[in-house]
Each structure stands twice: as structure tokens, then as C-alpha cells.
Amino acid sequence: MRKELGNENEAIWSRWYKNAERAPDRDAIIHWVAGEEPFRWTFSALIDTAEGLAATLVEHDIGKGDVCAIIMRHNKILYPLYLAVVCVGAIPAILAYPNPRLHPDKFRQGIDGMSSRSGLDWVFTERDLEGTVRPSLERPGSTIKGLHFPLEWKTGHVLTKEQLDRVITRHKLVKRDDPLLLQHSSGTTGLQKPVLLSHRAVLEHVKYYGQAIGLNSNDKIVSWLPLYHDMGLIAAFHLPLALGIPTVQIDPFEWVMVPSLLLDAISLERGTISWLPNFAYNMIADKIADDELDGINLESWRLVINCSEPVRYESHQKFVERFRHWGLNPLAISSCYAMAETTFATTQTPPGTPPSLLALDRNALAQGKVKIAQDADRAKICVSSGKTIAHCQVRIVDENRQEVSDRTIGEIAIKSRSMFDGYRNYLEKTREVVCDGWYYSGDYGFADRGDYYVIGRKKDIIIVAGNNIYPEDLEDVVGKVEGVIPGRVIAFGEEDRQLGTEHVSVIAESGMTGDQGQRKLKMDIIEAAMAIDVSITNVYLVPPRWLIKSSAGKPSRKANKERILSGSETRKAKTNDYGGIEARHTNRAQVG
């Protein structure tokens, strides 16, 4: 019966279906749960289960173009459900399951924002979340038509001919240029940018990116990355599924608590490729004890690709040194530059070749100049993110969007065959970043003999462990804390070399004086941030009118970050009679 679901348009379902025909008993997805036998979806079982779920979707009148938010924890049904949504021509959008510390109102605000922006039609979630999500459905003007609980649906049953016919009818409407999926950035205050990708974009991307990393039938991907993130969804899910190779999916919540799970899975499954944000190299190297590595063999790991945070040389060194004795090939270390707007990767280092390095003068770099360091003490080692993948062009441009020469820092612009179809229902935002087919990333970098180096970003987004945090969201909640002067707050990221990522800092103006009052205020600020699931590491309280304004009249994040972090300012602040500013790293949640 499955044959009838083949689609001449070669939309992505057809690719999955062909893989199931070609290798029905091959593992497609190995669902990994700590302490349990992994659940193995073969390609045929995955497709059969997805068909059954697609029939249920049709019964609920879910079809082409409907946006379906999927908010579920690590569960083996998530994968066939995602496939089923695609099968009937609807558009899946996987969203993060809310962390217990996230306030339900803030979570709902995100759902409501998505509904307003993307025209969200259906929500698939777990019964536990019903009370939180239902108000979004019932609010006036909501676009949400219904809430479903797929874990309660029947699976594994044989469809009747009528049921299958109805699925086929829906599926046949799907064309290769139709939207396949939506990826939503986090952010709660109208900052969400829903990236829309077509079947064509994803299929072409997996083809060319697969070539760039030499993907072959012996490969097996192992990932703990969440599927609401482009790296997890495209690299570790769509890529293997479309190219017919297995992927091991570890629960991100379990991995972050027990980082050795990734190494267990690599060793037991003979995994070959993983993508990691930079902080994970530090975390795995620093937080796993030797006795947890008994019997671990990492020889099969041919690519460990660093992506989604600035790539740090020290993290690579630390990782290689730590795991060389467990069979890690130093040449497996690799890097990539990617973003949802170009489906995923734009550059990639060639497999088996170490990423190129440049030792640059740290002071010159801070001034936006590329100068080879003459003095090792002043050198910052920059790691290449590789060369462009096929059918992708990158250029570095100045503020007038004119291309600049090698070793000149500018904004990174990309033209790709697998470019997104724009931000859904957000033409003005799309026009800001796309011009003449070029996507202007907002990231800064430079080129050097075909290699691209990413060194920073124009936007103020804070990246903590691969997650984007919008300073506006944080400033909004902190500005409402009693004792903080409204609108007089800035949030920014501070480099954390030990963790290999950034941590979050806040400067808030307040008239509060006295140790006890200030300590309480800092705790109130930290607790307010917890409600939007952000952990603040440093709170700097400053007196009224301390913050420097930008020309637009708002506190400048860049200028105030530089001011607070500069040694002279900290010294001045410590010696003034206000006493509200403390040196960095000293004021984390001091309560008492």
C-alpha cells in the first residue's frame, strides 16, 4: 500500500519513502534514553507509523499549508508525527518544551507571538501542558484551531483503503517548492523570526552539504541537539533521513545533565559524525570523570563539527588532549558556519583536514583589523569555519554592502541555492536582511584564501551554549523589577573562557543604596530572569544616569558593556561614594 504514496514531485516524503523501499530494515532513528535499551525505528517502520498518524491528521482535517507547532519532550513518537505532518502537506514547527522555571505566561506569550506572526493553526503537545497552552487557543483573535495530544493516538494499526486514499489525496497536493517547515527563533517580545524552508531548499541542501562532509552509507550520526534548533533539525535529522543513513537521537535534557551519554552512544553505536556547539567541547572535556570512560572507544568518530557558536581554538585543543587516549582522531575536529536562513551550512572544513588557524593581534582585532600577531602573548588564535559548500557563495562586505578584500573584516553575506523563503508573514524583516538574493547575516568575519573566519556579530544577541538570548527580552523583564529604573537596563554577553561560551550580564540603574537593599535587588533581578528561563551571572547596579545613551536616546549596549568591563571604569566605580558597582565576577547572587 505504501507504494501509492510515492510523489512525482519529489517532495521530501517521497525521498523518505524511497529510502524505506531501498533499505526497509535499516535503522533510521535510534531513540536513545539513558539506562534503557534504545528504541530503533527502521525506515519502513518509521514510514508505516507516519502513514497511520497522517490518517489521523486527515481525520482532524489537518492539511496543506496548516502550521503545526509540535511541543513535546524526547519521545519516540515525535519522529513519525513530524513525518506525518509533512506527508499531508502541513508545516511542522518544533518548539522547545518549556523548562519548569519558565513562567507559563511567558511561554504563552511566545505561542501567542507565533500565532500572530505565523498564523499557527494547530498545536501538538502532551496532556501535561494542556492547562498552559489552552488559554492561547481561547484568547480572542487566536489563529489556533485545535490542540492535539498525539501520545494518546492509536499507532501501529493497518489503514483501510479509504483512510489511505484520503492520505494520498492530501499528499498529492504537495509540490517541491511548497513550504516544508518553519523554524522559530526564541524570543518573546515580538522578536521571533519564523524561517520558512521549502522542500526544494532542504533537499538541495542535504545533497550539497552531504557532499561537503563526504557523507556515505557507512556513516551514523549521533546527536543530543534539540530538534527546535537548526543544527539538530537539519544536520542531525533531515540530513540522515533524506540520505538514508541512521541517526541516534539523545535527549538534550539528559545529555546536559550527563554529558558522557554522547560518548557512550558514539562508542556503542560506532557513530561517525556529530555536530556540537563550542561549549559542548569544554563541557565534555571538563565534566566527565575517567571512570565514566571505561570501555569507551571513539575511533569511529570521523567528524566532530563545531558550529552555532564562535569556534574557540582552546576548546578544540582541550577536547583532543582529553580524548586522544580513547581513540579520538585529532583530524576529526572540524568546523562549520551555518544558519537557519540558508537551511543550514554555508561553509565547512574539509573532512580529515584540520581547520586553518591564524594567530592574530588581539588589540588590532578589537579595532576591527586583521593583523598577524608578532607577539604570542597578544595573539588570539582564530579558527577557520571552512570553505563554501557547493552552490553557496559568501562575500565579506563593508557598511555599504560593497565587497572587501581578503583579511578585511566586514559583514558576512551569503547567496545559496538553499536559501529560505523569507520570514513568514514578515516582509519588512525579510527585506532588511535579503537584497538581490544575498542574505546579510549580521555576523562579522573575514576571508583568507578561500577560508572564512567568523569573529563576532553586528547584532546584540547573546549566545549561551548555542542558544540565542535576545537582550530586549531580558531588559524588558528586568526593567519591571521594583527598584530598577524602567528603561534603564542593558543586557549583554560576557566571554566565559572556562565554559567556552558566553554568560549573561546585566547593568541596571537604581537609586537603591546600602548593601542589604542592593543584595535583595540583585536577587529580585536574577529571579525575574529565571521566569523567562535566563540565568544571569553578573548583575551590575549603577546609579541613575550612569548608562551612556546611543544617538537614538536608548542606553547603548556596546558602550556600556565596554564601560563596565574596562578596568579603569571598574576601579573608578569601586572608589566612588555610591558603592553600587562591583567588580566583575564578584556579585553573582550574593544573598545574606
Binding site: 519548569p100 545533565m257 563541557m283 540565568s535 550574593q590 544573598v591 545574606g592
Partner: protein, 79 residues
């Protein structure tokens, strides 16, 4: 009942001077105890009390009372 010693190790790992920690307290209610810091708290406890937790034991913990019970069991177990 959370012992003063465990509470102090947790607070030190999180750079907190004080916080009300009860049996029912869950990690996400404590400032700084987010998913990234969880592993640091566990390592601090392991190092301080000279015990080792198995991955599955760590993943099964629902609240700090569970953590205390697991620690107590480890400490009572003859070496």
C-alpha cells in the same frame, strides 16, 4: 531533611550566600541552578563527599530531597 553540609556545598557551587532549600525544592527554583550548571553541582557534591553517582541515578532525581536520600545511601554503603 537536607543536611547543612549538603546545602552548603550546593550554595558554594552556585555562588550563593544563602537560599531556602527544602526536600521538595527542585533545581530550577534555585538561582543559577540551570541545566548547564547541574553538572557542576553534582561534581561539587561528588568531590566534597567523595562519592560517585551513576548517570541514571542523577537523571532519576526529582528534587533535592531525592538527592539527599541518594547521597545518604551512598555514604552509608560500606566501601
Amino acid at each position: 531533611m537536607i543536611t547543612e553540609e549538603l546545602k552548603r556545598v550546593i550554595l558554594t557551587a552556585l555562588k550563593l550566600d544563602d537560599w531556602d532549600i527544602q526536600d521538595e525544592t527542585i533545581a530550577t527554583q534555585v538561582p543559577g541552578w540551570d541545566s548547564l550548571n547541574h553538572v557542576n553541582v553534582i561534581l561539587a557534591i561528588e568531590n566534597h563527599f567523595r562519592v560517585r553517582f551513576k548517570p541514571v541515578e542523577v537523571l532519576k532525581l526529582k528534587n533535592i530531597g531525592d538527592l539527599q536520600a541518594l547521597l545518604t545511601a551512598k555514604l552509608q554503603k560500606p566501601v
